[in-house]
């Protein structure tokens, strides 16, 4: 899984053409950036030492997750534990595959995360565009408010959301989950997309206007295609946040519409809390879709997250 973390071309207004052409971000001028060409041995040693220590911290737990998921259930209670499972087995994965309830959670997770991603991107594209390309009174205050709204504690919002959804008979529905998920996806999506729209030169929009395109048409056929990487990044981001949510689904989804994270907690925290191989196998399976989506689209995601934040 080689990772190329690319930034979208840095939004320097003096070279607007770098963004206009293909609609995909071009790699930055890599040759002149990044690490020094000549490195002293001391730097090299320090770098390796850092990588080994921090890398060990990052990756050993991942190894342990994998190793435990392959350990036969009767060996998992050996102490001290074996760092390499003696007789690796896929039993844990097989017993997961036989668990219909988990598939239900999986289906719910996919449905809810996808709808959340689409809704968030749609709504925040218009909002971000408005913030980026228009100037009006209250714009800045509103922007601040949107950005600040991610500071509002979820646990607190939940107190009311539960009662409101209950009153409108929306508990245990996908609607409740999607609406509650937007509380944390919208602010960052708006921020990311505004950053992307900022890199689209105003001249381009002016030109289209002079040609007689309507304002909506400009958005839909000029701006959005140009911002496609940003839309993908924001959508992916919203998907991942929705996929990972725990507390809203735990409280609002009920048993039928439960998503994977609380579903797993309900499955494995209880008697099965000692079924470590299965729990680790399930953990692995839950993490995979996000990892795959990320690896496939990571250049957009990292670019999107850093757009507007990193300037050359």
């Amino acid at each position: 899984m080689s990772a190329t973390t690319q930034l979208p071309a840095t939004p320097t207004p003096s070279t607007p053409s770098s963004r206009v052409g293909g609609g995909t971000p071009r790699p930055p001028q890599r040759l002149r950036r990044g690490g020094l060409r000549s490195e002293r041995p001391g730097v090299r040693i320090a770098a390796w030492a850092t990588v080994i220590v921090c890398g060990g911290f990052g990756l050993l737990p991942v190894y342990w997750l994998l190793a435990t998921s392959l350990t036969p259930r009767d060996q998992v209670f050996a102490y001290p534990p074996r760092f390499f499972p003696a007789a690796p087995t896929l039993d844990a994965f097989a017993s997961l595959a036989a668990n219909e309830q988990l598939f239900g959670y999986l289906r719910n997770s996919v449905i809810v995360s996808v709808i959340t991603a689409v809704l968030s991107v749609l709504v925040s594209a218009y909002m971000g565009y408005s913030f980026s390309k228009f100037r009006y009174r209250g714009r800045r205050s509103l922007m601040y408010l949107v950005l600040a709204s991610q500071m509002f504690p979820q646990a607190l919002l939940l107190v009311t959301l539960y009662s409101v959804f209950s009153a409108y008979n929306l508990l245990n529905t996908y609607t409740a989950l999607v609406l509650s998920f937007t509380t944390f996806t919208l602010p960052l999506c708006v921020w990311m997309l505004k950053g992307f729209f900022d890199t689209i030169p105003d001249e381009l929009i002016e030109a289209a206007r002079v040609d007689g395109a309507s304002r909506l048409r400009i958005i839909h056929s000029i701006v959005l295609p140009l911002a496609a990487p940003g839309l993908i990044a924001a959508g992916l981001f919203a998907f991942v946040r929705g996929w990972n949510d725990f507390v809203f689904a735990l409280t609002l989804a009920g048993p039928e519409k439960q998503t994977l994270p609380p579903g797993l907690v309900n499955t494995f925290i209880g008697e099965a809390s000692t079924a470590w191989p299965e729990l680790m196998a399930a953990s692995l399976v839950v993490s995979l879709p996000v990892a795959i989506a990320f690896i496939a689209l990571q250049k957009y995601l990292v670019g999107g997250l850093t757009a507007g934040a990193v300037k050359g």
Partner: protein
């Protein structure tokens, strides 16, 4: 208090001036269109964020149960009870958790970013691998560290005993002295990759020419780090630290699943306390009062931050 302000502080002044001239206000008729574009988002946020927030804060002044109908106005009684009760302990624990899970990932993420920004072999592959912990859902992080820290079969005890650092297996998650540290470590594991990616992206925008010129002038690695790299990263560092702080201040998942706020409330933060008060204690008034104090604190922090960052350019 916007991310743009943070970002702006790092950008060069000429860019800023250019942008200003570029984005002069348009004709007024655009205003209505712009507001129209905002409507769906504003309606959504008002419905699912603003209203719930205000309504939750209002319950602070009522005695109200989650499961029984009706409520009675009790004035400041809930707030007073919370202040006399757990508030200071919760505040201290929340701050320990928030600062710990902001500083530790920052240090690790920055160290890794610097290391991977050199030309060491396999940097790209390593960078990809390092992202894994960040992609893992919070509950999975909790499961994994629950298993690692397990008092009876955990690998952490085996490792430390093997190294001779502890004599007996420890119940890391069940001792007040170690539980918070364990929770912070688990959260750090999840967040450091994000810090690493952001800082690495920032590092790659530092012009090599500056380093080369400084090196020719005889500046050492350490000196160049402080006089060139760090000033360049000011904006991105401010941003990641701020965002991480905000997120961790209300973090819930890992604490709730890993320790449930225990042992004896030693890892309870505002987030878990509000949840448990409302959804296990069914005491909405007290949950609202906790939330109210929490928001007041947050606002105070915001004001301090805005004051602090006002030194930067105004847009």
């Amino acid at each position: 208090m916007t991310h743009r302000d943070v970002a702006m502080s790092s950008s060069q002044t000429h860019t800023l001036e250019h942008r200003k001239s570029q984005t002069t206000p348009r004709r007024l008729s655009d205003g209505q269109f712009a507001v129209l574009l905002l409507l769906p988002g504003v309606a959504l946020l008002a419905g699912v964020v603003l209203y719930p927030l205000i309504a939750a804060l209002v319950t602070a002044f009522f005695e109200q149960s989650l499961v029984l109908p009706g409520r009675t106005f009790v004035g400041l009684q809930n707030v007073v009870e919370v202040l006399q009760g757990d508030f200071l302990r919760l505040l201290r624990q929340t701050m320990v958790f928030t600062l710990g899970t902001t500083i530790l990932p920052f240090v690790i993420g920055f160290a890794l970013a610097l290391a991977l920004n050199t030309r060491i072999r396999g940097a790209k592959v390593l960078r990809g691998l390092m992202l894994i912990p960040w992609l893992v859902p919070g509950v999975v992080v909790s499961f994994l560290w629950m298993w690692i820290f397990n008092a009876n079969y955990g690998v952490m005890n085996a490792l430390l005993q093997g190294l001779g650092l502890v004599d007996d297996p420890q119940a890391w998650l069940a001792q007040p002295g170690t539980a918070m540290g364990a929770v912070i470590l688990a959260k750090t594991w999840q967040s450091f990759p994000w810090m690493m990616v952001m800082l690495l992206a920032g590092l790659q925008t530092v012009p090599v020419e500056l380093h080369e010129a400084a090196e020719m002038d005889g500046a050492g690695t350490v000196r160049r780090f402080f006089s060139i790299t760090l000033p360049h990263l000011k904006g991105i560092v401010g941003l990641v630290v701020l965002l991480e702080f905000i997120w961790n201040f209300q973090h819930f998942d890992i604490i709730y699943v890993l320790t449930g706020g225990g042992p004896a409330g030693a890892t309870q933060t505002f987030a878990t306390a509000v949840y448990e008060t409302a959804f296990q204690g069914y005491d909405l008034g007290k949950a609202g009062a906790l939330g109210l104090l929490w928001m007041v604190l947050l606002m105070a922090l915001v004001v301090v931050y805005v004051r602090f960052s006002e030194k930067g350019e105004e847009r």
